[in-house]
């Protein structure tokens, strides 16, 4: 019984890893065969980014049971800190791979730092405070980034919150962050392969964490906070840990994003409220607490609007219909009964029965 349970859990995780690797191999073959449209090719790195974001948010929403509405904010922090690093180190570290590796670490650290700073005061409270604070954080960080001007010349760094001229730089100085125009000239180190590797690392961290003493404590707190305290589990510590790890992984997604574009600017479109909500939609639709579901939902919901492009104006209408249909199918009693009756397992079971008869 014990061995069976263990292997069942491990098997499920292996399927998740296998799914990602298979998707990568299939995609690579299609790319080699030239069967991928340029549109889809351009979507590959963002897809990886969305998957990382969805999986990391699931750690907060599904496993820890808290609501975070500012995941794009952590992504923004990771994106800007790592892009700045890469830009500064372009000459100092010419090796792209090493520089990108360091950039990822910096993005992860920046995300973790902000996650920690926000979590310390907020996670002590009960209720929906985290949702409110993270929502504000996402909006604030986006606006703060938009007014920062940072330059570098022979004298070192200059910072201003007015415009590029007030940096008072010596001739020959370069503007690194140009306010609303953001960071230009980030080396484009992201690739589909690195994106997949980062997804696998994210999965490794999240899945292993969930299936360990730490994950047990986090889920115990989610299920019953008072009981968790009564058996000696430090509630704030474990909530903070889950939130920080999640923010850090969102920072990694930001690194991937920043190094995929030549210009990085904080706009409502990429780091705004809508982005955070979209990530939440991936998590909810994929199933709260279901890691594999998050991956599938992120991929499907990113590809769907592109696939429906031929419908023009009806595109977003169809998107909404798909969302509603999925929710009915997965959550309503009728939908669940339907799924049970026509699931793969049930069909196979019925066939076996027929054979026996």
């Amino acid at each position: 019984m014990k061995m069976k349970a263990l292997s069942k859990n491990t098997r499920s995780n292996l399927i998740t890893y296998g799914m990602v690797v298979t998707a990568y191999v299939v995609m690579e073959i299609l790319l080699k065969a030239g069967m991928v449209s340029s549109l889809l090719r351009g979507l590959l790195v963002p897809l990886c980014m969305y998957v990382i974001l969805a999986v990391s948010l699931n750690l907060v929403v599904g496993i820890s049971g808290e609501l975070s509405l500012g995941h794009a904010g952590f992504m923004c922090v990771g994106a800007f800190s790592s892009a700045l690093f890469s830009l500064c180190m372009k000459e100092a570290v010419p090796a792209g791979a090493l520089r990108f590796f360091l950039a990822i670490l910096i993005g992860a650290a920046a995300g973790a730092l902000f996650g920690f700073l926000i979590g310390v005061p907020v996670l002590r409270l009960r209720g929906d405070y985290l949702a409110i604070v993270t929502l504000a954080f996402g909006e604030i960080i986006k606006n703060v980034v938009n007014i920062i001007f940072l330059g570098r010349d022979v004298n070192g760094f200059h910072i201003s919150i007015e415009d590029a001229f007030s940096l008072n730089m010596e001739p020959g100085g370069e503007v690194l962050i140009n306010g609303p125009q953001g960071i230009t000239g980030t080396p484009q180190d992201s690739s589909f392969f690195i994106g997949i590797v980062l997804i696998l690392i994210t999965l490794f961290v999240v899945i292993n964490m969930v299936n360990s003493r730490t994950g047990r404590a986090i889920m115990a707190i989610r299920d019953n906070r008072i009981a968790a305290e009564s058996v000696g589990i430090n509630v704030t510590k474990y909530k903070l840990l889950a939130f920080t790890v999640s923010a850090s992984l969102a920072g990694v997604a930001g690194v991937l994003y920043a190094h995929n574009l030549s210009t990085l600017a904080a706009q409502p479109k990429n780091f705004g409220y809508n982005m955070s909500i979209m990530i939440l939609v991936f998590v909810v639709l994929g199933g709260i607490g279901n890691i594999r579901g998050s991956i599938i939902a992120a991929v499907v919901l990113t590809l769907l609007p592109e696939m429906l492009r031929s419908l023009n104006d009806y595109r977003m209408l169809m998107y909404a219909v798909v969302l509603i249909a999925t929710m009915i199918f997965t959550s309503s009693p009728g939908g669940q009964a339907f799924r049970e009756r026509y699931s793969l397992k049930a069909l196979i079971g019925r066939k076996n029965q027929e054979k026996e008869a």
Binding site: K2, S212, T214
Partner: protein, 252 residues
């Protein structure tokens, strides 16, 4: 020296004096009962003992150590574990994981060890599994180890809660109405279980209960609370025949 010594314990919620001048002495290995009509303040006493509420007066000594006003998790680490009147299990976790959550502070490895799956992870998890199964066997729950806790029948959920509390390796076990909602057969079985826990684990147990058959069957000493104050205390048979107690329960 007594295992638990409580003196002059009191708490006010605004103008309401929920518990006043409460005292309690429990010797090691005793099975002690706390009874009283509804609203007498029994669960409040439990919440004071486990740090859910901070007492406004008095002090609590556990094994000679002052634990007054400490946090719930600190008190648990000092050696008090409890169950709840309305069952509080980790519903989405398996039965085994509920007990393993109780073992949290006794089998440790860092979060990083868990993520990187270092050898220590496998070693400690194996020890935890063995210990959890041992405890589940005691409560005859080993066959349900992989069930979701919320899918267990009511009586077994009560048992699982006790198993989880015992997993924290307490010196004193507090049971809040363990027989609530049980039929006579289940209550009888529960009585045997509680006695077994006391003898097998050398546990000291303080329990709140309304079921007088259970109380008279297993408790050695009783304290009766009424309106937040001690009505009487002493040997079970003496207390239960006290006219004051009968009046408190049934009225004049």
């Amino acid at each position: 020296m007594a295992l638990l010594e409580v003196k002059e314990l009191g708490i006010s919620f605004g103008g309401l004096r929920a518990v006043d001048d409460f005292h309690l002495t429990i010797e090691e290995g005793q099975l002690y009962g706390l009874i009283g009509p509804n609203g007498a303040g029994k669960t409040t006493v439990f919440n004071l003992l486990t740090g859910v509420y901070k007492p406004t007066d008095g002090y609590i000594l556990l094994d000679g150590e002052n634990i007054t006003g400490k946090k719930t998790i600190e008190i648990n680490q000092h050696g008090i574990a409890r169950t709840f009147q309305n069952i509080r299990l980790f519903g989405d976790l398996t039965v085994r994981d509920n007990v393993k959550a109780g073992l949290h502070n006794h089998y440790k490895y860092s979060a990083l060890t868990g993520i990187l799956r270092l050898p220590k992870y496998y070693k400690v998890e194996k020890e935890m599994d063995e210990r959890a199964m041992e405890l589940l066997k005691v409560f005859d729950l080993d066959k349900e180890a992989d069930y979701k806790a919320s899918n267990l029948p009511y009586g077994k959920q009560r048992k699982l809660e006790i198993a989880r509390a015992l997993a924290t390796d307490p010196k004193l076990l507090l049971l809040d109405e363990p027989a609530a909602g049980m039929n006579p057969n289940e209550t009888q079985e529960l009585m045997n279980t509680i006695r077994f826990v006391r003898d097998e684990f050398h546990m000291t147990i303080l329990l709140i209960e309304h079921d007088m058959k259970l109380v008279s069957g297993i408790c050695e000493q009783l304290t009766v609370l009424n309106f937040g104050q001690i009505l009487t205390e002493g040997e079970t048979s003496v207390v239960l025949n006290d006219p004051k107690v009968i009046t408190a329960y049934l009225g004049e």
